[in-house]
């Protein structure tokens, strides 16, 4: 343990208890959000999302593969994160650690459960050939709140994903790279992450706030204002009131985030 974080913890908690935040934001305010799409021409879909200085690049690659045996008529969605050593001095190369696995799985859950992607439309020939979508999330700058940034990047990348047209000829799949079709999406999903510091729930934690958090809650919300994924993290407990304060705020913040994605 380092002595500086303990002092930081006390001062940040004190400021939050007084109803303010270190960077001057209100409790329900995001840092500046920037989204750029179509940044990698070799990927079928791509986006860069920034919340404050936190930066995630999402790339969607596609390939034709076999469906899972239990879902022969559904395409495959695979979400993966790489938390790279360039993003933070403490990140180390090597196989994904549990934080990185959790991040990928929570983002995957939000996208999958929202029904955003109609996996049935990705089926080319039932039981044999389906499109596989690989959403790879590259964490390149870490300044707090990877969950929301990664979800923004993934959703934006999927929104500009284009698949080559395929036709079935005598059981053979013919790919026509000349004609690109947009991926059919039903819905959009956003994620809002809160941390509990002292007894307050605070939206969009900065790096400092994230290092001293007591509890964390990420809420995935669909475009129609329903909850589709949640994940609690952190070493301390949350009260029921904390959860519903966060859920309520996440539902209203979702509209704001969707506006950012659409613009």
């Amino acid at each position: 343990m380092n002595i500086i974080p303990e002092i930081t913890r006390e001062s940040i908690t004190q400021i939050i208890n007084d109803g303010e935040r270190v960077d001057g934001r209100t409790f329900d305010q995001y840092r500046g959000i920037q989204i750029e799409t179509d940044i990698i021409s070799k990927a079928e879909g791509s986006a860069r999302a920034k919340i404050g200085y936190t930066q995630v690049i999402a790339g969607v690659k596609v390939s034709i593969g076999e469906p899972f045996p239990d879902t022969p008529n559904l395409g495959v969605l695979i979400t993966n994160t790489e938390v790279l050593p360039i993003a933070d001095p403490s990140f180390e190369p090597g196989p994904p650690n549990e934080d990185s696995v959790e991040l990928a799985r929570v983002v995957d859950r939000a996208i999958r459960e929202s029904g955003m992607i109609d996996l049935e439309k990705l089926c080319i020939e039932e039981g044999r050939k389906v499109w596989m979508l690989f959403v790879d999330l590259h964490i390149i700058d870490y300044d707090g709140n990877l969950f929301d940034t990664a979800t923004l990047a993934a959703v934006s990348a999927l929104l500009n994903t284009k698949l080559p047209k395929t036709t079935l000829d005598d059981g053979e799949v013919i790919i026509n790279d000349e004609i690109k079709e947009e991926l059919v999406l039903n819905n959009k999903v956003t994620m809002s992450t809160f941390v509990k510091i002292g007894d307050k729930m605070v939206l969009d934690p900065s790096l400092e706030e994230e290092t001293i958090l007591d509890g964390r809650l990420s809420v995935g919300v669909t475009e129609s204002g329903k909850i589709c994924a949640m994940q609690k993290g952190g070493d301390k407990s949350l009260l029921k009131e904390d959860i519903f304060e966060a859920v309520n705020m996440a539902i209203s913040k979702s509209k704001e985030l969707i506006k950012e994605i659409d613009s």
């Binding site: 696995v101 959790e102 994924a229 609690k232 070493d235 029921k240």
Partner: protein
């Protein structure tokens, strides 16, 4: 709290009513070498939990000078599911291990054990839905059996939405076919929530119903946890 039952009773595949748990059995102190252990059966789930420590760990970088640390390992046996599971950690079990440690951590007074590690192993011998909550329930009993000082015995239970109805303790079939799953863990004395996930679409009101129902379920399971400990340590129980 008033629940409105739309479909009436018997709407669940196994004949349970919406607020009924599967049959549950917990036994503590089942392993000889472990410092604490528990065996749990819930519906078709068979789960063993073992605790080693507090002890010094050879992985020095994980230890902290001001507090003890808890590390969990959730592992499914290859034969515990219909299609053989490849042995070793996958992404799902890595995530569950992490949230299990975070679910148990708030109850433990680890400040008493600086520079030491508590290792919790959860082995899923047979799985039938709801293993993460059942694993937490078993691990909390094993921690108590190991004599780790704690504020409360954490207990886990899930609720979810199946056939448009909010029901308690989803079975494997309900989990697969259902619309949403909300596993939680609480410290029953204060109802503080130490684990919460949601997987699937719910409205805000449905989420409220699900959490309240799961909390009720946790309190019921909590009694059985305590009985298991009494049975081991009270000769006249």
């Amino acid at each position: 709290m008033v629940f409105i039952i739309i479909n009436g009773e018997g709407s669940r595949g196994d004949g349970r009513s919406f607020n009924e748990l599967r049959s549950l059995k917990i036994e503590s102190g089942v392993l000889k070498r472990a410092d604490g252990s528990a065996y749990l059966e819930m519906g078709g789930n068979k789960i063993l939990a073992a605790v080693y420590g507090p002890r010094e760990s050879f992985i020095k970088r994980l230890l902290k000078p001001n507090t003890g640390v808890i590390r969990c390992k959730y592992n499914m046996a290859p034969f515990s599911v219909d299609d053989r599971k490849r042995p070793g950690p996958d992404r799902r079990s890595i995530e569950i291990s992490k949230i299990t440690a975070e679910a148990l951590r708030p109850s433990l007074l680890l400040e008493n054990f600086p520079h030491s590690m508590i290792d919790v192993s959860i082995e899923i011998i047979e799985a039938e839905g709801g293993t993460r909550c059942a694993g937490i329930t078993a691990a909390a009993v094993a921690l108590a059996d190991a004599g780790i000082p704690m504020k409360d015995i954490v207990v886990g239970c899930a609720a979810g939405k199946v056939n448009d109805e909010i029901v308690l303790d989803l079975s494997e079939k309900e989990d697969k076919e259902g619309q949403s799953d909300v596993p939680i863990a609480i410290m029953p004395r204060t109802n503080e929530i130490t684990l919460l996930q949601t997987d699937g679409i719910l409205t805000e009101d449905e989420l409220k119903l699900a959490i309240d129902l799961a909390i009720d379920g946790c309190h019921e399971i909590s009694k059985i946890q305590k009985d298991a400990l009494k049975k081991r340590y009270l000769s006249n129980f």
